[in-house]
């Protein structure tokens, strides 16, 4: 399994080979590959579990699982997708690309980089183990079943024993993320090639600079929240217990203080990716680089003051609710600026529609859809009818699947030639794209309707009038799931070096330091920093 071939004629590669190469690596390319394959496999695992949910929800009544296991199925895959698929996917891209894009020889702290990766498989063994044991072990000890948000007191007083493993798995993932983010920030601040000022950096690097800052700032808050849950469970504390002077809503405040920047952590690198791809295939520079930078920074800063828009129904005082409504609405302004800037980049360019561009365009349109439903959710009185219904589920899947996941896929299509030296197969790619595009909309768009019509979320069974839509949503889900197998085949093909070889500048309009090195990129690049004008 190797997507990077050392080019022996260039220099002697003294590093380890075989299993030692992957376990002991300090090389940002290898670690990036590890992260990306891990992310893809978690995406498939989470997706498989989601298929079970959709099989159950295909028809009213309970057919396959009981409501308790259903709740576990809506909890664990959510955690897997967020912490196992999307975040590691973006970190893998950061590992591969940030050093090359800034002309650095590697990440700033390479051993810590490897540690950040290897923590993840172990953390997910801990988490997924609870679900496997719940399904197959005698007695069926329950896996976490309180939603990925783990509200108290459902998670503290009433959570099953496996909750403690969930808590420790989260701690492990947090350590991994924080160390990874520190590495990214230090690399960007310290290892840029001479001449590359901050305002000359590629947008993808900017997006990761800001994302890394968010990660370092808010992952500790998540750690604090789950630690308080642990203490309430075992040490008799009263953080979330009114009888002792605490408040269950405290958990929500601390959690969402993490949770809201978290969702921006999961999209800002995606914005960076689109800002790399669209100019290449428009053969035009990115429109408004400076405002794009300001926009991404302001999105990150505003994301710290909007968290309670996840909590509009808890009974906050009116003044608090109004504040959070206004701040949430405000964040749509810089986001809109980015979308218009991408359109302006395309405008009067010379467009071609290779696969990365297809995915990027799908992102722009469908993420906008998700962002607009988010704006609807920001309006508090209306939100009090949408909250905890499938309308919310539609919104976040649009921004996370057609947003974040599509951007990761676009990035893979775009940079696979650089990583593997092979162009991605056009046939498989087109099959993947069109099947995914149609099925993802069949899957998530009807959720807007059933949500508005009143179907609550995290429901194992629903009222009959939602039956037709749920049937088609499930069909869309299976179709979308199967479509990802085209992608798997395509990635394996490149990894096995089948197909058309890629030149150094794999895409005609591509700009950036990574396109100056050969394809596949040699094991070590920019050992001597390039000079940037």
């Amino acid at each position: 399994m190797s997507t990077v071939a050392a080019t022996h004629e260039e220099h002697h590669h003294h590093g380890p080979t075989g299993w030692r190469r992957w376990l002991f690596s300090t090389n940002h390319k290898d670690i990036g590959t590890l992260y990306l394959w891990f992310s893809f496999s978690m995406f498939l695992v989470g997706g498989f579990l989601a298929m079970i949910i959709r099989a159950e929800l295909m028809e009213p009544g309970m057919q396959f699982v009981d409501p308790e296991f259903f709740n576990q199925l809506t909890t664990v895959p959510g955690l897997v997708m967020i912490f196992g698929a999307i975040m590691p996917g973006f970190v893998g891209l950061a590992n591969w690309l940030v050093p090359m894009m800034v002309g650095a020889p590697d990440m700033a702290l390479p051993r810590m980089n490897n540690w950040s990766f290897w923590i993840l498989p172990f953390a997910f063994t801990l988490l997924l183990g609870t679900l496997v044991l719940s399904a197959f072990a005698p007695g069926h000890p329950e896996a976490p079943d309180f939603g990925w948000t783990a509200y108290a007191p459902l998670s503290s007083k009433y959570g099953p024993p496996s909750t403690d493993f969930f808590i420790f798995a989260i701690h492990m993932m947090g350590i991994s993320s924080i160390m990874g983010a520190i590495n990214v920030i230090v690399t960007i601040f310290n290892l840029r090639a001479p001449g590359m000022t901050l305002m000359k950096m590629p947008m993808f690097v900017w997006s990761w600079l800001v994302t890394a800052f968010l990660l370092i700032a808010v992952m500790p808050a998540l750690a604090g929240a789950v630690t308080m849950v642990l203490f309430d469970r075992h040490f008799g504390t009263s953080f979330f217990d009114a009888a002792g002077g605490g408040d269950p809503v405290l958990y929500q405040h601390v959690f969402w203080f993490f949770g809201h920047p978290e969702v921006y952590i999961m999209i800002l690198p995606g914005f960076g990716i689109i800002s790399e791809i669209v100019p290449t295939f428009s053969r035009k520079p990115l429109f408004g680089y400076t405002s794009m930078v300001y926009a991404i920074v302001s999105i990150a800063l505003i994301s710290f003051i909007v968290w309670a828009h996840h909590m509009f129904a808890v009974g906050m005082p009116l003044a608090g609710t109004l504040f959070f409504m206004y701040s949430t609405m405000l964040i749509s302004v810089p986001t809109g600026v980015k979308i218009f800037n991408w359109l302006a980049t395309m405008w009067r360019g010379s467009l071609t529609f290779e696969l990365p561009m297809k995915w990027a365009l799908a992102f722009i349109l469908l993420f906008t859809c998700g962002g607009l439903s988010g704006l609807m959710l920001a309006i508090v009185p209306a939100d009090l009818q949408y909250h905890d219904t499938y309308f919310v589920v539609a919104h976040f899947h649009y921004v996370l699947v057609t947003g974040a996941a599509f951007s990761i896929i676009a990035a893979v299509y775009y940079w696979l030639p650089k990583w593997s030296g092979m162009m991605p197969s056009k046939v498989l790619g087109e099959l993947h794209f069109w099947n995914s595009l149609i099925s993802v909309n069949l899957l998530f768009f009807p959720m807007h309707f059933v949500g508005l019509a009143g179907m609550p979320r995290r429901y194992a069974d629903y009222a009959l009038q939602f039956a037709d839509y749920n049937f088609w949503i499930s069909i869309g889900a299976f179709w979308f799931g199967l479509s990802q197998l085209f992608f798997l085949a395509l990635c394996l093909r490149c990894a096995m070096k089948k197909g058309e070889k890629a030149p150094a500048r794999a895409w005609e309009g591509a700009k950036g330091l990574e396109w100056e090195v050969p394809s596949p990129a040699p094991h070590h690049t920019f050992q001597t920093p390039p000079v940037v004008e």
Partner: protein
């Protein structure tokens, strides 16, 4: 593999994955240890093996980190750490301390939320008149919360006894550490070692006094983790702080032993400074704790 950038990149290292095994054992063992020790919500019933797995994990981690840092120290002595790598380490340590600040921030946020909003609400303030009337009619809002809504009674920890002494201890230790730092920069090794040793002693004294305070709280004041939200916040906040003081003290002891072996000079002192920064951070957190948990 050398590179002409002079930025040292280790070729490979087994320590990260080995450390991960230790981290996993710590996490898995820790979870089971807590469950089996408190007897509540036990996933694997029957047995007390959790604490052994946890202990094994901690020891494994400590050994691995020692070996890892031994490699790093050798690289440093070998002269590979100058220039940009030094800056990388400094930036990294700075951002790490920032993440620790945010961790404490979550608890300070919880403290202020509880004190200024939650407790008054339980007492009927603002939009929560009915909360008080219907659910907790006998509850009186106050801070420190020495009588919880369900009737548990406790006492508040007085700021001007042991805590004030501890404040003096930590502040003094920061001063002695700064004196030690200046001695390092001036090449006065004996003075450096002496003042660093004093700092370590003060750190240990702080921990000892804190333990005494906890003992007093538990046995004479009815101030425990179970004593409602005041007790919960008090112990969790000062407790995590104490853990960080312990880590800081150990870090200082390690760098002290390196000082005694002749390591560190004006040009090459990142690890020493990292320990110092950590110590100052721990001190500043204490000041915030003293003001908001003990005093006001």
């Amino acid at each position: 593999m050398s590179n002409s950038n002079n930025y040292y990149i280790p070729e490979y290292s087994p320590w990260p994955i080995v450390a991960t095994v230790g981290l996993f054992a710590t996490a898995f063992g820790g979870a089971n240890y807590i469950q089996q020790a408190t007897g509540k919500l036990v996933y694997f019933p029957g047995g007390h093996w959790g604490k052994y797995v946890f202990a094994l994990g901690v020891i494994w981690l400590l050994v691995t980190i020692t070996l890892w840092w031994r490699d790093t120290i050798n690289e440093s002595i070998g002269g590979l750490h100058h220039g940009r790598l030094n800056v990388s380490y400094r930036l990294g340590m700075g951002w790490f301390i920032f993440s620790e600040v945010m961790f404490f921030g979550a608890f300070f946020g919880s403290l202020f939320y509880t004190r200024w909003l939650v407790v008054p609400w339980l007492g009927g303030a603002g939009s929560n008149a009915m909360t008080h009337e219907l659910l907790w009619p006998n509850f009186q809002a106050m801070w420190p919360l020495i009588r919880t809504p369900d009737g548990t009674v406790t006492q508040a920890m007085e700021a001007w006894g042991l805590p004030a002494i501890n404040t003096a201890v930590l502040l003094t230790s920061s001063v002695t550490l700064t004196i030690a730092h200046h001695a390092l920069l001036e090449g006065r090794r004996t003075r450096l070692a002496l003042f660093q040793a004093i700092t370590v002693v003060l750190g240990i004294a702080f921990l000892f006094l804190q333990a005494t305070e906890y003992h007093h709280a538990y046995t004479h004041m009815g101030l425990t983790l179970h004593a409602g939200i005041y007790g919960s916040l008090f112990f969790v906040m000062t407790g995590f702080h104490g853990v960080h003081v312990t880590i800081g003290t150990i870090f200082l002891i390690i760098t002290l032993s390196r000082v005694l072996r002749g390591h560190f000079s004006k040009e090459n002192d990142f690890a020493w400074e990292a320990a110092a920064w950590y110590w100052h951070f721990v001190d500043i957190v204490w000041l915030f704790l003293f003001v908001s948990v003990y005093w006001l």
